[in-house]
Amino acid sequence: MNKKISKLILGFSALTLLLVGSATAKVDGDIVTLGAAVSLTGKYSTNGKHTKNGYDLAVKRINENGGFKVKGKTYKIAVKYYDDESTPARAAQLAERLIKQDGIQFMLGPYSSGLTKAMAPVTENYKIPMIEANGASRSLFTKGYKYLFAILTSADQYLAGAVDLLAEKAKEEGRSLKTLKVAVAVENDPFSLDVRLGAVEKVNKYKMKLVLDEKLPKSLDDMAAILTKVRALKPDLLIVSGHAKGAATAARQIDQFRVYVPMVAMTHCDSAQIEQKYPVGAENILCAAQWHKKLTYSDDDNLFGDGNDYVDIFTREYGYSPPYQSAESSTAIQVYVDAFKRAGSFNPQKVRNAIAKTKLQSFYGNVKFNQYGQNIAKPMVLLQVINSEYNVVAPTKWASTPLIYPRPK
C-alpha cells in the first residue's frame, strides 16, 4: 500500500515538474532570460563571484538604459543562476536543468576551463549557444563545437608573449637566442598545461634552451625544490602558472629563498594580489592579463565607456576594483545583446549565426570569432609590477611604461 502511494506521488511530482518546466520560457513578455551556472561555493567561489558580478553589472546597466530593441520591440535581460559548487559534474547537470527544465535558450559560461569543458557538450547537444568568458583552455576549441564562443584569449597565449619579450631584449643586447635558458613550472591542470604549451612552442621556435620543465601536483603549495633547481640552473626566464595559489606560492618563495632570475612571468597575479601581499617578491614580476583598464578600447554601444569608466562604475557598485574576470564577463552580455539585435529574432539558431558574425569593440577589447569560436581580435597583455602597481609593458603598441629588464638584484 505504502509503496503504491509513494509511486503515485513520485509520478505526480514528475508530471508537475514537466508541466512547470515547459511553462517557463526564455523570452517571457519583454524579458529575455539567459542561463548561467557559476561557482558561488567551492574552490572557485572568489572568481565565481567576479564572474557573476560582471554579468550582473552589464545586465543592470542595460536595463537601466531602457533595454534593447529587437524588431521595434524593447526587451530587458535577466539571468537565471545556479551554483555549480565548483565541480564539473554539477555544472553539466545544471546546464541540462537550465535548458530542459527552465527552458533557457541562451547560456553564459561558468568560471574556469574545467567547468566550461563539462558544460559545452550539453549546450552543443541541445544546439543552444553559449558565450563564455572564463574558460581559456585550448582544448575547448579543438572539438569542433559550433555553439561555443569565447570572449577571452585562449590559455596558450598567456605567457607566450613573455618568451617573445625575452627574445626582443636579447636581440637588443646582441645576445644569441640559442644561449637563452628558460625554466617552466606549471600546475598539472588543463589551463596551466596549455599555458606551458604556448610558451614551450615559442621556446622551440626561437631555439632557446628549456632547462627545467616541471609540472606541480595540484595539492602542493611548496616550490622549494623547484626553486633550488632554478637557482642552480640560472635560467634567463622563469615561467610559473598555477592559478592564484601558484602565483602566491611563487612570489613569496622566490623572495624567501632569494632566487634571482632576470625575468619572471606568471599568471593570476592579480587574483592572488601578489603586489599587495608579497610586495618584495612581486616587484618587477611580469603578469599575463586578458585586460587592463589603461588599454584604450571603448564601447561601440556606449554601455560603460572605456576601461577607466568601467572600473569606476564597477567599484561604485561592488566596492572593489574589477579583475579582468569581471570585465570579460560583462562583455559576454554585450555580445549577446549585439547578436540579438542583428539576428532580429530569439531563435537560438539565428542568434548563434549572428554571434558567429560578431564584430564589435567593447571597453574590454575587440571581439571577432574564428570558426572554432575563439576571439581572435584581442591580444593578451603583459603587466609588470612596478612599485606595487600593475603597468602595461607589452605588446609595445599598448605599453604605458617601459619594461624593467633585467629585474634588479
Binding site: 572568489t46 598539472n188 616541471e214 609540472k215 595539492s219 625544490a225 623547484i226 642552480a232
Partner: protein, 319 residues
Amino acid sequence: MDSIIQFFTTPSFLMQALINGMVIGALFSLAAYGLALVWGVMNIINVAQGDFVILGGYVAFYALGISTPFLEALQPNFFSRILLTPGILPLLSIPIASSILFVFGYLLYKVIIYRIVSRDLFTSLLATFGISLALQQLMNLSFGADVQFINTGLPTLFFMDDLVALPVVRLFSLILASILSVFIVIFLKKSKMGLAIRAVSQNARAAALIGVNTDRVYAFTFALNTAICGACGALVGMIFNLHPYIGTPYTVRSFMIVIFAGLGNLPAVILSALGLGVFEESADFMFGAELRLAFVFSLLVFVLVFRNWRLSKKREYLK
C-alpha cells in the same frame, strides 16, 4: 637518469632536500600524531584532520591580523616593542590557535563526536567526512576563497656559498614540532589524564570498571588532537598557504604516516614522518614534481605488501 646522478653528486641539492624534507616531515608528524591518538583511543579515523589544520591556520592568521594594528596604534612602550619584534607575535599566535582549537574540539565532541565513539568504523568515517565538508564550506563563507598566508617577517639563513636556503620560520617549525612531541610523550606518560588516556586506549571497558570517566577522556583526547592540529595549522600558514579547500593533503599524508608507523607508537610516527618528508623531497629532485606523489604512494603500497608478507610468515610460525 641525469637528474638522479645530478642529485647525488650535488651536495647543495642533497642538503636542501634534507632540510625541506625534515620541515615538511615535522609538520606532518604533528597532524599524524593527533590522528593516531584519536584513532587509537577512540577508534575513529578522523577524515577532517586536514581541515582542523587549516582552521588552526586561519585562527592564527586572524589573531595576528587583529592584534598587530592594535599594538601598532598604541603608544610605543616596552611590551609593545617586544611584541612587535619580527617573529614574536607569529610565535605567540601558535598557542592561541592551539587553545582556541582545543575549545572547538571539545565542543565538537560534545555535539557530534560522542555519538559515534562506540559505533562502527563506517559511521565514524561518514560523520567525520561530513564534518570535513561542512568545515570547508564554513571556512569558505567566513574567510573567503582567497589564498592567504601569515607574514612572519623573519629572514632566511643561507649555507654552502648561499646555495642552500633555510627560512628561519621553517627552522621554527622543526624545533617547535620536536618540543611539542616531547611534551606530548611526557604528558601521556606522567600526567593523570595521560595515564587515563592510555588506559582507555588499551581497554575502555576495563578502564571504566576501575573508575575512569571514559567520556571525559574521549572529550579530552579529541580536544587535544584539534589543539595539536591548531599548532600545526599556524605553522602551515607561515610556511605554506591557507585556503579553505587545501586540508585534504594533510589528512591523506597523516593517514599514510600512521599506517606506516602503526598505532600507539609516537617515535615511529615522528621518524616515519621525517623519513617520508625527506623521501618526498628527494623524489622531487630526482624525478620532478610531477612524479613526487606517485613515488610516495608507491612506497606506501610497497610497505603494506612488505608488512603483510612479514605477518603471514609469523602466522605460519604460530601454526
